[in-house]
């Protein structure tokens, strides 16, 4: 956190064909967007295991972007549809954990849509900024003052 302002930590899973190329295209076009999202390149949005998303959130990320080719344009025919099927269930699960579904976003970004990539990253950054830090462990069971915490570390006996 800088100057006391909360800077969301975002992880992005970008498919290699459309969205990663789209993000590159944003770079080639010198479009400016917030630096909060750090991209991870996967071959296809279908490769994005919801476990990764949960892992990222649990490890300290405040939000996650999954981006793939537009429906019908998937380099792998319909890998993106698989991602699309997983997404609502994942959101529902996160909701049950008390996590705002807005923190996880699935977007179709083509290789030509550098502008869209920049916009999506900006939007997600602002959305998450408004939601505040995730604090997975605190979130899943908010702390109350004076309550003894269970110890997570293995006791040294």
């Amino acid at each position: 956190m800088q100057n006391g302002e909360f800077e969301p930590k975002l992880v992005g899973f970008l498919c290699r064909w459309c969205s990663y190329t789209g993000a590159d295209f944003a770079g080639i076009s010198r479009l400016q967007y917030p630096p909060n999202l750090v991209p991870i390149r996967v071959m296809c949005s279908g490769r994005v295991d919801p476990t990764f998303v949960v892992k990222a959130l649990a490890e300290g990320a405040d939000g996650v972007l999954i981006a793939g080719c537009h429906p019908g344009d998937c380099h792998y025919q319909e890998g993106n549809f698989r991602a699309f099927r997983r997404y609502p269930l994942l959101l529902k699960m996160l909701e049950q954990f008390g996590i705002e579904p807005e923190r996880v976003r699935l977007e179709w970004i083509s290789a030509a849509e550098g502008e869209k990539f920049a916009r999506v990253v900006s939007e997600l950054t602002e959305t998450v900024r408004a939601l505040g830090p995730l604090d997975w462990k605190g979130r899943t069971a908010p702390r109350e003052d004076g309550v003894q915490q269970g110890k997570r570390e293995v006791a040294n006996v």
Partner: protein
């Protein structure tokens, strides 16, 4: 094991270092686990940069490398190769993208540096989990598929073919040449497009290494670089390209005209046509939308649309000839057919169906009146055939076989041929003279008919030397009801009754007649009884009116003639003393539907009643009555002959059977159909061909034609004698229509099939190149590389309503104007207004659709130049005042600016300002009768109104139709406007992100001819370099399974988009078929038990990457 990771931070000149504090990233990287060395350099991708990495690998024993620089899409390969060089497996390398996705997109130096740290940490963490991988090499086939035969495709094809490799050139149109073939002149040199293009077209077509598929489309592409499998759908041309000599004789006789697409619909062409005289392949083709629905519906497949088209052209003799080739007895058919064709006629959905049968009768009667005989038949075949039975089925078979050149003898048991037509169809529907006339014609054509010649043993005929026998014995016996008193005098079968009436052996004067049955023959019997003088005629039918099988119009006519109907009654006994006096009937009610779907009539108990009747005609059906000697023939349980439904073969070799004797009583046209089917079988049988192969495989039915703009018009009515005049005798009820009515009616035809199949072209074509029953064909080819050159389509100017395109006839788009200028175009190269006048003033509007955020954002690049070309041509040809309305003039190519300068000296007006409107509403007297272009002249700063006679819209370019389908088929991506995306806009403009697929020409973006040609050549070079190398290295990203962990749950199988996973039931595990796996990793994500993994994208690698990012984030 502890890894030794080297981290290399590139400055990329100042591209990265200006935003990212590399020294800080370096300090941070040193703290990351397993990092042995961190170095920075100005240009890591340069030789010294790479050498630095190689040296460290060798000297420091690095076993993992991370380079933080630009996008891996750009230089991943460079650094992998460097690792390779230094003896480190190339996949023990990871790249982090701090340029495209960091320094270029962020300006806050501190924040960008933080992000760079995360990116580096992610890569360092990830690379620790990398494992050495083997690349897979696949062979590259030596063939190329080129999609699109425009100038770019042609150029690519020639380059590759010249190098000795095979090219499949697939073109959707009937000719190659693309848009360029339509052009008159080309800018800036003004040389004639045809002169420079057509030699190349011919060269391609003649090249031994080029296989041309015109009028064809790529349907499916599978496989991968080096080994694509392609399905090409060849639409039928209906003309053999090899045999066709392009003489054009066929065009003369073709009765069907369509708008000529090649002339941008400004002229017409025939249904048989070629796009333009220099088309390649230079062969005609037939525009057939499919089988006309009328013909499809006709059991005998009569070419109705064909004779209608000929009648419309007043070519009655040709029409008659066509009918004769389909039917043995045209005048008969024109009277008695129940014409199912008309039910299906598409015109019916607009107003009323075309009176198809009436037109057939007209042509046949016209021929008879004018003594026109069909084309004489030549005996061309050796065999002779015996037909047993001279009814419609037998005669149809005889006619068809004689047409095919066989000698045919018809054996008829009765004293006269005609079968049921002669004995069962009443005179008022079919005068005997008409039947005789038709039969005599057949005899004149060389068919021998032996009457009074019953045949007992078909095999005896075979022994006598007939090559084959067709049995068309008919159904000669009326069915009986089997009720009490049926044997009394005064009870007759329908057939006996009708025959007696026809032979004038019977009158019914003063009788009360009861006809039992509800079919068409019951109507015939009833109406005949009326004419024979019956006092009353009652039809007894056991169901209700709705279930009556008789045609509605037959029932109506009978009612009009005084026939009474009693529905829901059934006779149970004939009463009378030796002779019928009364019929005892029972009332019926309708119960549950039976297997025919009609509700089954059930008697109501106690509802019996009696009717007076002197004559009871049983019209409840017919049965076959097969003479002795035919015992060897296999019969069905209904007593009909058993024959194969496709071939009509019976159990006796060489003996075929069809018609009522096989199917039970049916219609005349169905009998004709059976005869023709038998003829086909006999022809095959006699010439030793397979009886089944390819049979009944027919061209699909044409889709519904557009009825847009077709005026509603009632159909012609046949002249009919009033019912009052009918009952007194057997005069034919209907008459033949007049010639003018016939022509008018024929013109109502919507020409669903496109080509009418009138067969006139077949008659004219000496090389016998026409194949009307050609079918669509799918060929499969295998290629190593693919070049996409699908070009563009012109922006549809009617999308900008204020320019009036489509509303004002004198507003043309660019291609239309090209055709107007072209010597081969609709005006022979004269620039004329729609009134046929020379224009005095012409406006050329630039940027129509292009550079317009409402339509196409981009510049279409060619419009300025072609506008200048038009201006020059218009000036040259008409001397008119020419106004160019432009935004900017973009004359960027070689010689273009010079051309522009030349134009400036040609007395042409240039008005800088985008036209806002083209209007025909005058505001000033000089604008009367003119088109007025309204615009703001931005140089003068005033609004202007320029009256002109002709407006040319220089419309922009859009991707060709079907480009989006191709996008999916080839896994391509699109950039702005839907043009295909190149791998790199500058450095790889003809490559695509999909290996082995290249782009050429305007499909990649708007471009002019020189650019398209250059790209064609460049794409060819790309494809050639791949094919010459012969192998392609695939990135190892395939998925696999740890067998020990796979539970065989099959979840991954449904997740795989490629069906690349199979289930091994024996081991109870899922198995990845490596050849099919494309490496998306979807199955890996889906594997519930973690048994699946993906090379270079393993779970732990990605998880480490996540951890790296968040570890760095924590540190921040």
């Amino acid at each position: 094991m502890s890894e030794k990771i080297g981290v290399y931070l590139c400055h990329c000149g100042t591209n990265i270092s200006q935003t990212v504090d590399i020294a800080e990233v370096a300090r941070f990287a040193e703290t990351l686990p397993n990092v042995a060395v961190v170095r920075e350099y100005k240009y890591m991708c340069s030789n010294p940069g790479q050498e630095m990495i190689k040296k460290d690998i060798r000297e420091l024993g690095l076993d993992r490398v991370v380079v933080s620089s630009c996008s891996p899409l750009l230089h991943e390969e460079t650094f992998r190769a460097a690792c390779d060089d230094a003896g480190l497996n190339r996949f023990l390398f990871q790249m982090s993208n701090v340029r495209e996705q960091c320094s270029w997109v962020h300006s806050d130096r501190k924040k960008a540096t933080e992000k760079a740290k995360k990116l580096v940490a992610a890569a360092v963490m990830r690379v620790a989990k990398h494992e050495p991988l083997e690349v897979r090499k696949v062979p590259v086939r030596n063939e190329t598929l080129i999609i699109g035969g425009g100038i770019a495709g042609i150029e690519a094809a020639l380059k590759i073919a010249e190098s000795g490799k095979k090219v499949y050139l697939v073109e959707r149109d009937s000719t190659i040449g693309g848009h360029m073939a339509k052009f008159d002149k080309t800018f800036p040199t003004l040389d004639c497009a045809a002169c420079i293009l057509t030699p190349k077209m011919v060269q391609v077509a003649d090249h031994p290494n080029v296989e041309l598929y015109t009028y064809s489309e790529v349907e499916e592409v599978s496989g991968y670089v080096g080994n694509f499998k392609v399905k090409v759908r060849k639409r039928p041309r209906y003309v053999d390209v090899v045999k066709c000599t392009a003489c054009g004789e066929c065009v003369e006789v073709c009765p069907i005209e369509f708008k000529n697409e090649f002339d941008e619909n400004m002229s017409t062409r025939k249904a048989i046509f070629r796009a333009f005289p220099q088309a390649v392949p230079n062969a005609f083709l037939i525009d057939k939308k499919g089988k006309a629905p009328c013909r499809a519906e006709c059991p005998a497949g009569v070419h109705a649309q064909g004779y209608i088209a000929l009648i419309a052209q007043r070519r009655y003799a040709d029409a008659f000839d066509l009918i004769m080739s389909d039917l043995p007895l045209p005048s008969v058919c024109g009277r008695v057919c129940y014409h199912p064709c008309e039910e299906r006629c598409e015109r019916g959905s607009l107003d009323e169906p075309v009176a198809i049968n009436t037109l057939k009768r007209f042509a046949s009667d016209w021929a008879a009146e004018n003594g026109v005989e069909p084309a004489p038949r030549k005996r061309t075949k050796e065999g002779k055939v015996a037909v047993v039975g001279g009814g419609p089925a037998g005669l149809a078979c005889a006619n068809e076989l004689s047409k095919r050149g066989y000698a045919v003898t018809v054996f008829e048991a009765n004293e006269k041929p005609g079968g049921m037509l002669r004995y069962a169809i009443p005179e008022y529907r079919l005068p005997a003279s008409v039947l005789d006339r038709d039969i005599e014609r057949l005899e004149k054509l060389g068919i021998e008919i032996r009457t009074s010649s019953p045949v007992d043993d078909p095999e005896a005929l075979l022994r006598e030397g007939y090559g084959g026998v067709f049995l068309a014995l008919g159904a000669q016996k009326s069915s009986s009801m089997g009720i009490e008193g049926e044997d009394k005098e005064g009870v007759m079968g329908m057939l006996e009754f009708l025959r007696a009436a026809k032979e004038k052996k019977l009158t019914c004067i003063g009788w009360k007649v009861a006809v039992v049955g509800g079919g068409n023959s019951a109507m015939d019997a009833a109406r005949t009884a009326v004419r024979l003088g019956a006092e009353s005629v009652q039809v007894l039918y056991r169901r209700s009116r709705a279930e009556m099988p008789a045609h509605d119009w037959e029932v109506e006519e009978a009612e009009r003639e005084g026939v009474l109907f009693k529905f829901l009654v059934s006779p149970v006994a004939v009463l009378g003393d030796g002779k019928a006096e009364k019929v005892k009937c029972v009332r019926m009610r309708l119960g549950e539907p039976d297997e025919s779907g009609r509700r089954r009539p059930e008697p109501i108990e106690g509802s019996e009643f009696t009717l007076d009747a002197d004559l009871i005609v049983m019209a409840i059906g017919q049965q076959t009555d097969i003479a002795g000697g035919m015992e060897k023939l296999k019969r069905s349980k209904w007593g009909t002959i058993e024959a194969d439904p496709v071939t009509l073969e019976t159990n006796l070799k060489g003996v075929f059977a069809g018609g009522d004797a096989v199917t039970g009583a049916a219609t005349v046209v169905e009998a004709f159909a059976a005869g023709k089917r038998a003829a086909e079988s006999l022809d095959r049988y006699l010439s030793g061909k397979d009886l089944r192969e390819g049979r009944d495989k027919e061209i699909p039915v044409a889709p519904s034609p557009s009825t847009e703009g077709v005026k509603k018009e009632p159909r012609v009515r046949e002249p009919v004698i009033p019912s009052i005049d009918r009952v007194g005798g057997f005069r034919e009820i209907t008459g033949t229509i007049a010639e003018e009515d016939a022509v008018r009616e024929a013109l109502r035809c919507l020409r669903c099939g496109g080509c009418s199949e009138c067969m006139e072209c077949v008659k004219k074509c000496e090389p016998e190149a026409i194949i009307h029953d050609q079918l669509e064909e799918t060929v499969e080819i295998e290629v190593g590389t693919i070049i996409v050159a699908t070009g563009y389509r012109l922006f549809d100017s009617s999308r900008i309503p204020q320019y009036g395109y489509g509303r004002f006839p004198d507003v043309y788009n660019g291609l239309e104007f090209e055709r107007l200028c072209h010597a081969g175009g609709p005006t022979g190269g004269k620039i004329l207004t729609s009134k046929g006048e020379k224009p005095e003033a012409i406006a050329i509007l630039h940027c129509v659709g292009s550079r317009d955020e409402n339509y196409l954002d981009y510049c279409s690049r060619v419009c300025c130049m072609y506008s200048l070309k038009f201006a020059h041509l218009a000036k040259e040809k008409t001397g008119a005042k020419v106004y160019n309305f432009y935004i900017d003039i973009r004359a960027f190519g070689k010689g273009y600016e010079e051309f522009y300068k030349r134009l400036l000296n040609e007395d042409i007006y240039f008005i800088r300002g985008k036209a806002s409107e083209v209007t025909a509403v005058p505001e000033y007297p000089e604008e009367e009768g003119k088109l007025v272009v309204v615009c703001e002249d931005t140089l003068l700063g005033i609004n202007r109104r320029v009256p002109v006679d002709m407006v040319i819209l220089s419309a922009g370019m859009e991707p060709a139709e079907g480009a989006d389908e191709l996008t999916r088929m080839l896994s391509l991506s699109c950039t702005y406007g839907g043009f295909f995306m190149e791998k790199h806009p500058k450095l790889a403009p003809v490559d695509t992100p999909t290996d082995g697929i290249f782009l050429a020409g305007a499909c990649q973006g708007p471009k002019d001819i020189p650019d398209a040609v250059s790209q064609g050549a460049a794409a060819a070079a790309g494809a050639l370099s791949l094919m010459d190398k012969g192998v392609f290295v695939l990135e190892p990203v395939t998925a696999d399974r740890v067998e020990e962990l796979c539970s065989g749950c099959k979840v991954c199988i449904a997740n795989c988009p490629y069906s690349a996973i199979e289930f091994d039931a024996e081991k109870n595990v899922s198995v990845v078929v490596k050849e099919l796996c494309k490496g998306c990793g979807t199955c890996v994500a889906s594997c519930p038990s973690g048994a699946a993994f993906q090379e270079n994208f393993a779970d732990d690698q990605i998880v480490n990457e996540i951890e790296g990012i968040l570890l760095a984030a924590k540190g921040a």
